[in-house]
């Protein structure tokens, strides 16, 4: 078996394992969805039920809540592998750690980020977002949740060795989330006003590519340190 073949076999095995694990521990992927649904439904009660006020606020609300939902789910990303020692196998196998982390985070995104984007039209209706902005909302969330999850992976990898790393994780990750939030929410806001938004989506796509390529590298380095301590 050539090196490429064995790498593909290994990556595929990790992807299948992660998806199986996430599927069997459904609460991990359902929690962010419930969080999005519940928190969004509180805004009409807490701020104002007036349709025009909600329409104005909804792009920001949906994006902020989706961002927090992603943050909520990142802490558990490497936790169980750290606790039961599986992370040692990730580190010790002959293949580069980078590819395993890439696949692992990808699986995490497929079962948390994508469902958030799929659920978002319902939230949009709930918050009276103009219907013509809904396709842009879904697109921006598909593109935007990936950098959120991938950046979150760096924070999760850095803090996995700490017993109570939750606060530190937020402190590390939230500043890095800000650019994604700005362009994501702006895209939806502009779309609601009826303006074209190719620029914002292009920037989000650039974040997507950049985090996809680079975040696993940083997370892999952080995991080596976390296992060593």
């Amino acid at each position: 078996m050539s090196a490429q073949d064995s790498l593909m076999v290994g990556m595929w095995a990790t992807l299948r394992r992660e998806l199986t694990l996430l599927w069997r521990r459904k609460s991990d992927s359902l929690n962010p969805l419930l969080f999005l649904l519940m928190v969004s439904s509180l805004f009409p009660l807490g701020v104002s039920p007036a349709p025009d006020v909600l329409a104005l606020l909804s792009p920001g609300i949906i994006w902020v809540v989706a961002l927090l939902a992603c943050l909520l789910s990142t802490e558990s990303m490497f936790r169980s592998d750290y606790d039961d020692g599986a992370l040692e196998l990730f580190l010790l196998n002959p293949q580069p750690l980078y590819f395993h982390i890439l696949v692992k985070v990808l699986a995490h995104w497929l079962l948390t980020g994508i469902p958030l984007a799929v659920l978002s039209p319902i939230i949009a209706l709930l918050l009276n977002l103009p219907t013509e902005a809904i396709p842009i909302l879904v697109t921006s969330l598909v593109l935007g949740t990936a950098p959120l999850v991938f950046i979150g992976a760096i924070g999760a990898a850095l803090t996995v060795g700490l017993r109570r790393g939750g606060v530190l994780l937020s402190l590390i990750v939230l500043p890095l989330y800000v650019p994604v939030l700005i362009f994501g929410a702006d895209a939806v806001k502009r779309a609601a006003e009826g303006s074209p938004v190719p620029g914002q989506l292009a920037i989000l796509a650039a974040f997507f590519m950049l985090s996809f390529a680079l975040a696993p590298l940083a997370a892999a380095g952080a995991l080596k340190i976390s296992v060593d301590s």
Binding site: G10, R17, E88, L89, L91, N93, P94
Partner: protein, 207 residues
């Protein structure tokens, strides 16, 4: 004499301002078992984890088949199997699924998972979630990895933990078969091992 599989020189470890060991040196040939002994906290686990590449607390010169480990890292990773305190078994996956992943990421193709599970006494438990197994059975799932791995050197940290009398006999037989095939074993255990080829390395000699 041919070059040893593993040659360790000038290995030292300082942790929390205490020297755990210094100038540790040994060579390990195929067909040998080296048991690292010493009191609790003398650095046995640190030594093993550092040799496997999981830890950087201990440093020194390691050669694998006569070459610096840093030069032959992928080969070293393939030929050395570390078995630590933690079983690294996922509770939500069955023993078969756990081992399938292991076989695929270590590319130890040709390993028969069902036969390995049978050999460690888990016949009939292949598809039960590992969360339903006992602590000893989880250790056995982890031990099945030894049978599936093509590694020449087994690095075992307290492999006898939580397994019963039959399990201990089984593991000793596995060790004997492994060295019979030219493999080598580096292990820590407070248990005396009933295999004639065992040498011991007392870490307390290297204070």
């Amino acid at each position: 004499m041919s070059t040893p599989l593993l040659q360790v020189d000038n290995f030292h470890c300082e942790r929390d301002d205490r020297v755990l060991f210094r100038n540790v040196h040994f060579a390990l040939n195929g067909g040998e078992i080296l048991q690292v002994v010493g009191h609790n906290g003398c650095g046995k686990t640190t030594l093993l984890r550092s040799l496997s590449g999981l830890s950087t607390y201990a440093n020194g010169n390691i050669t694998w088949r006569g070459r610096q480990v840093s030069e032959v890292m992928p080969q070293y990773r393939r030929e050395v199997l570390f078995h630590g305190h933690l079983a690294a078994v996922k509770h939500l996956l069955s023993p078969r699924e756990n081992l399938r992943w292991f076989v695929d990421i270590f590319n130890s193709d040709g390993g028969d998972i069902d036969a390995a599970l049978q050999a460690v006494g888990l016949f009939g438990y292949e598809d039960i979630p590992c969360g339903n197994l006992s602590a000893g059975q989880l250790r056995r799932v982890a031990l099945a990895r030894l049978l599936l791995s093509p590694a020449m050197l087994w690095v075992l940290d307290e492999p006898f933990t939580a397994i019963d009398v039959h399990g201990i006999a089984m593991l000793q037989e596995m060790l004997q078969q492994h060295i019979g095939k030219g493999g080598a074993v580096l292990l820590t255990s407070h248990q005396s091992i009933d295999v004639p080829e065992v040498r011991s390395l007392n870490l307390e000699m290297f204070k």
